[in-house]
């Protein structure tokens, strides 16, 4: 089985370019769980998440010729593909936009910000980084898993742009420290 073999990124890429079954097996064994996890974070509906996973694999399969290793690693490329495809799917269903509009309106009412954070806390990084404070979690959640722009995050949680960026920095640094241990 593919599990016993370890390919380098380069080897995997050339296998994928040849459209080999071996390449697919390896890709699926090693990456499907991570991809599915990120998709499931963004899309709660199991069936839709499965559809998106398939879509992402098709995109990787067909787009591998266009993949440029100079611009980033394969894993990053695939994760971004999964993330963007999921967010696009949500957008096409109007869920995220609805959320954004509501949040824009909500900036008028102070208490609704709290509500947003609370909601996110329950679905966010709770299992992974218990130590990450809500104010950091919410930013990673909105940015990475909801596809909000910096500006939108700033408006949603009513925090200046610069502060959003430094909180991002802090959140990621905490994650990095966590994984080093």
């Amino acid at each position: 089985m593919a599990a016993s073999i370890t390919y380098t990124e380069q080897e995997l890429i050339s296998l994928l370019k040849q459209k080999s079954k071996q390449g697919f097996d390896y890709l699926y064994e090693n990456y499907s769980a991570a991809l599915f996890s990120i998709i499931s974070r963004i899309i709660s509906d199991e069936q839709t998440a499965q559809d998106v996973l398939q879509e992402v694999f098709v995109k990787v399969w067909k787009g591998i010729d266009k993949y440029d290793s100079a611009k980033g690693r394969l894993y990053t490329w695939m994760l971004n593909l999964a993330r963007n495809t999921s967010i696009d799917k949500l957008r096409s269903k109007g869920e995220i936009m609805k959320g954004k509009i509501q949040n824009d309106e909500a900036t008028v009412y102070d208490n609704s910000n709290l509500k947003t954070e609370q909601e996110i806390n329950t679905i966010g990084l709770r299992d992974t980084v218990a130590g990450l404070e809500p104010q950091y979690q919410v930013i990673v959640e909105l940015a990475y898993f909801k596809g909000f722009t910096l500006d939108e995050i700033s408006k949603t949680i009513d925090v200046p742009l610069g502060t959003v960026k430094t909180r991002m920095r802090k959140a990621i640094t905490m994650l990095r420290t966590h994984y080093k241990n």
């Binding site: 769980a33 991570a34 599915f36 996890s37 960026k165 920095r169 990095r176």
Partner: protein, 272 residues
């Protein structure tokens, strides 16, 4: 650029998290390409997110693997089957949400060719229609000309027959003023047929018309007014409607429009 400050600002995190606008993204990417420290930092940030994804890894249901492989194999088959010759077979149904860009290009090309062809055929058809209309108009005008020719020919035939008739007399009418020949009457006494031919007759004054007479036993008998139209058609022969069995002279006078019961101003006379 102060690399350390740049890193501390959190812009790289914002970049990796995908929250920057297109312009900002391009700017950061350019900086990352230029400074190895930034590139290393970006990789470290990415790694933390990769860890996050891996740690939280959630295996999809086991049937997904075969399902996805089938989908990928289908994609491959489509590529193999999709020869240009068969492109038309593939066109009608939008099946998969995502098709290879070249396949889309092939479809668009086919659609484009079809549209262009239709347009060309349509304009050709319009052109043929126009040509057909032009030809039809020409045929119509030729037919009209032919009718005219036939009419003229018939007239000439009659004139020829008439002239060939040995019983036909020719009466030359002369202008009363200068005795110059101004008109002729061909008359067949036996048949009673008579024809009038005019030569360079001036148009009558306004409100006047020429009127033809035959003098029978010293009395002028009205043969009707002469159409001004007829006066213009120099040399044309006009059959005189009445049957004339006797007479001593033909005359034309100028009368008021519609004619008079008796001649008032004689213009030309020709004795038989």
């Amino acid at each position: 650029m102060n690399v350390k400050e740049y890193i501390e600002s959190g812009i790289l995190e914002a970049y990796v998290l995908g929250t920057l606008s297109e312009n900002e993204c391009a700017e950061v990417a350019a900086n990352v390409a230029q400074y190895p420290e930034l590139a290393a930092e970006v990789i470290a940030i990415e790694d933390s997110l990769l860890h996050l994804a891996k740690e939280d890894a959630k295996a999809p249901p086991s049937f997904m693997k075969d399902k996805i492989w089938d989908a990928l194999s289908d994609e491959e088959e489509e590529v193999v089957v999709e020869q240009p010759v068969q492109a038309s077979k593939q066109v009608p149904l939008p099946q998969e949400p995502a098709k290879p860009s070249w396949q889309r290009a092939a479809i668009w090309a086919a659609v484009l060719v079809s549209v262009v062809t239709n347009f060309m055929l349509l304009s050709q058809r319009n052109e043929s229609r126009e040509q057909r209309d032009v030809l039809a108009a020409r045929v119509d005008s030729i037919a009209a000309q032919q009718q005219q020719l036939v009419a003229t020919l018939n007239t000439y035939k009659k004139e020829k027959d008439m002239l060939a008739d040995p019983g036909m007399q020719t009466i030359i009418m002369r202008n009363e003023a200068d005795a110059a020949p101004a008109g002729m009457v061909y008359w067949s006494k036996e048949k009673g047929d008579a024809y009038l031919a005019l030569h360079k007759l001036p148009m009558p004054p306004k409100g006047k018309q020429y009127q033809l007479w035959v003098i029978q036993d010293g009395n002028p008998v009205d043969m009707g007014v002469i159409d001004n139209d007829m006066v213009q058609k120099e040399g044309m022969m006009m059959k005189i409607a009445a049957n004339i069995k006797s007479g001593q002279a033909f005359a034309i006078s100028i009368e008021k429009e519609g004619g008079n019961p008796t001649p008032t101003q004689v213009y030309m006379v020709g004795a038989i």
